[in-house]
């Protein structure tokens, strides 16, 4: 299966998850086993209802599985309490949803700065870094806008800014292009590709668009709660020391 060397960044071990719908128990994940290696661009393909979003939510610590565990860099995620898992999301994950979500009372740059604010940064430092991040994706001019004033594509790019501002190990994206037109979608995918290739951040993306296979280093096909097959498109060998420790430095060769 995996060709990459070294320990996995995320180990998914025999995850089972069932939901109670009325009187029936619906098994959504049936013994999912998967290793995600550092530097991989993993795309999870599958039809609606195959359990891919549930798997994603389980990985980021929002959905406790009925059995099995998620190991993040050697630590069992569900041994941690709710707040400790929140802390893992704060520090380790960058999260992009299908539909961009905003704190409506804050403007674009404040929304981007939010993950830093919850980790206790000073407002000034957080805003400064948020502005740099927006500049990186050429969104600086929108920093004082209300997020909902922007187009869907722009909003999704801003939410990528928010996902990468805390310099996470892993970017998790749940159908990030699902609501976008083709041009915006390609642009957004391009950004993910750049983050993966230049800063070597691990990306885990859920999609149902087969065209995106070309971006992935590993493609996972899911059906009815099980992994049908795994295709390694490219071997990834990551020596993490070779890459900038701060992913914002990727495009400019500088560390903020």
């Amino acid at each position: 299966m995996g060709i990459s060397s070294g320990p996995p960044i995320i180990g998914i071990q025999n995850i089972n998850k069932a939901f109670q719908v009325g009187k029936n128990q619906v098994d959504v994940l049936k013994g999912v086993d998967l290793n995600i290696m550092p530097g991989e661009f993993v795309i999870l393909f599958g039809q609606s209802g195959c359990g891919k979003s549930t798997l994603l939510n389980t990985i980021i610590g929002l959905e406790r599985p009925n059995s099995g565990d998620i190991i993040i860099r050697g630590r069992k995620l569900y041994d941690l309490g709710e707040d400790a898992r929140a802390k893992v999301r704060q520090d380790r994950f960058g999260i992009v949803h299908q539909q961009a979500n905003w704190i409506k009372s804050l403007n674009v740059v404040e929304n981007v700065a939010y993950p830093l604010m919850i980790s206790g940064y000073s407002r000034r430092a957080a805003i400064k870094r948020a502005e740099r991040t927006l500049e990186l994706l050429k969104l600086a001019e929108f920093s004082r806008y209300t997020p909902t004033e922007l187009s869907g594509g722009q909003q999704q790019k801003v939410s990528i800014c928010r996902a990468i501002i805390n310099n996470p190990w892993i970017i998790v994206a749940d159908e990030p292009t699902g609501n976008l037109d083709t041009v915006s979608a390609d642009e957004v995918m391009g950004i993910f590709k750049t983050i993966n290739e230049q800063a070597r951040r691990t990306i885990l993306m859920v999609s149902h668009n087969p065209e995106y296979e070309k971006y992935a280093t590993k493609v996972i096909y899911m059906k009815d709660g099980i992994i049908e097959k795994i295709v390694n498109r490219k071997d990834v060998k990551v020596d993490e020391d070779q890459y900038p420790s701060d992913l914002l430095a990727m495009a400019r060769g500088e560390v903020l």
Binding site: L62, K87, I103, R123
Partner: protein
């Protein structure tokens, strides 16, 4: 998350719904203003009524009279008995009689009181012109402003003015068997008493005694401290006399105002409850609106306690704005009314009173209480927001 940032988030949330925030805070403000206004009204009234009589001397003094009794008499012997009671520092008698007061060509009907200088001191008699008679054997007299005005004597001429009085001495005041008699006395005015009620004259007691008076109308008994008033009252009443003391009156006034305040504060309390319901409603709606937002804030890694504080601070900010504004409105309204009364009173030549009064400590207390109430109101919505599951919240439409 830094506390300052939590505060900032709450503030932004409130600011993004200006109208709703202002309306909710106004509800709080109106109720707090109502409470401040009512309490300062009650306290102001109470202060006016007790100020008129609150001289510390008066609290130690017991007024004694024979009441309706036909057998008792209040003479030198009984006064001596009072003086010998425990903890009594002095006892002073007074006689009163009807009189016709004449000055030059004008004459008026009034009351004449015989009392010595020590009685004047016990009574806290206030002089507006001239001075009290120090010599109890003189023929100096004090008249009140009402008498002065009715006699038509100017302030310039009044001191040293000669007057004569026809005093009707009742039989009860004289030795047994004597009938009512009228005597004429010539007096010299030495001072004017600051009093505008019905006309009266004060003269030293010897004026009456020289005319055969042996029974006094009433007496004042002063105790060494106000703590002994109740004890002396019992002793004197057991001799058959009637007693009243200002302490009793003040106690009754205070008791009345305590009830009055409870009634007013309950009205204010109802207003505060209504304001709280409004605030609770606003916070609940705010939570419903922000359910999705709370969900993804948690998905991004926001701790439960942070969510809790954002909502709690929101309610406290509304409470703070509302109560500060309310206190300002309440104090302002009282101040404006005080000023109007002052302007009206000085315009018409009456004594101005401060009808609204509230001590600063009480203002701070009201602020504190209303902040605590808004904190309590915010607790339930805040807890609900903190407990909600991130995924459920994000699925919420």
């Amino acid at each position: 998350m830094r506390p300052s940032y939590l505060l900032y988030l709450s503030y932004r949330n409130l600011f993004s719904h200006k109208m709703r925030t202002i309306l909710t805070a106004s509800g709080v403000a109106i109720s707090v203003a109502f409470v401040v206004f009512l309490i300062s009204f009650a306290l102001g009234l109470q202060r006016i009524s007790t100020d008129q009589i609150s001289n510390i001397n008066a609290l130690q003094v017991l007024d004694v009279s024979i009441g309706k009794s036909k057998i008792l008499s209040l003479n030198d012997e009984t006064i001596d008995k009072f003086t010998k009671l425990g903890n009594v520092s002095e006892a002073q008698p007074q006689v009163s009689a009807a009189a016709r007061i004449k000055a030059g060509d004008s004459s008026i009907d009034g009351v004449i009181y015989g009392k010595n200088n020590s009685y004047l001191k016990l009574d806290d008699t206030r002089i507006s012109l001239g001075e009290q008679y120090e010599d109890n054997s003189s023929d100096g007299a004090l008249i009140n402003i009402a008498a002065q005005k009715q006699l038509g004597v100017s302030d310039v001429d009044i001191i040293g003015k000669d007057i004569s009085v026809d005093v009707v001495i009742r039989s009860e005041s004289l030795e047994k068997g004597s009938g009512t008699k009228t005597v004429k006395e010539d007096l010299k005015i030495v001072g004017v008493i600051n009093d505008t009620s019905a006309p009266f004259v004060y003269v030293p007691l010897h004026i009456f005694i020289d005319n055969g008076v042996v029974n006094y109308t009433n007496a004042k008994v002063k105790m060494e401290s106000k703590d002994y008033v109740n004890q002396a009252k019992l002793q004197i009443e057991s001799m058959g006399f009637n007693t009243t003391s200002i302490k009793e009156t003040i106690d009754q006034i205070n008791q009345f105002f305590a009830i009055f305040q409870v009634v007013l504060v309950s009205f204010g309390g109802i207003a505060i409850i209504v304001a709280c319901l409004g605030m609770f409603n606003t916070l609940t709606i705010s939570l419903i609106e922000k359910t999705r937002e709370v969900g993804f804030m948690k998905a991004l890694g926001t701790m439960r306690s942070n969510i809790y504080w954002i909502f709690t601070l929101e309610s406290m900010l509304i409470g703070l704005f509302g109560s500060v504004a309310g206190v300002a409105i309440g104090l302002g309204a009282g101040g404006i009314l005080n000023y109007s009364i002052f302007a009206l009173a000085s315009g018409s030549g009456n004594q101005a009173v401060e009808l609204f009064y509230i001590p600063a400590v009480l203002v701070v207390f009201i602020l504190f209480i209303s902040l605590m109430i808004s904190l309590l109101t915010g607790l339930y919505p805040a807890r609900r927001a903190a407990k909600i599951s991130a995924l459920d919240a994000m699925r919420y439409e």
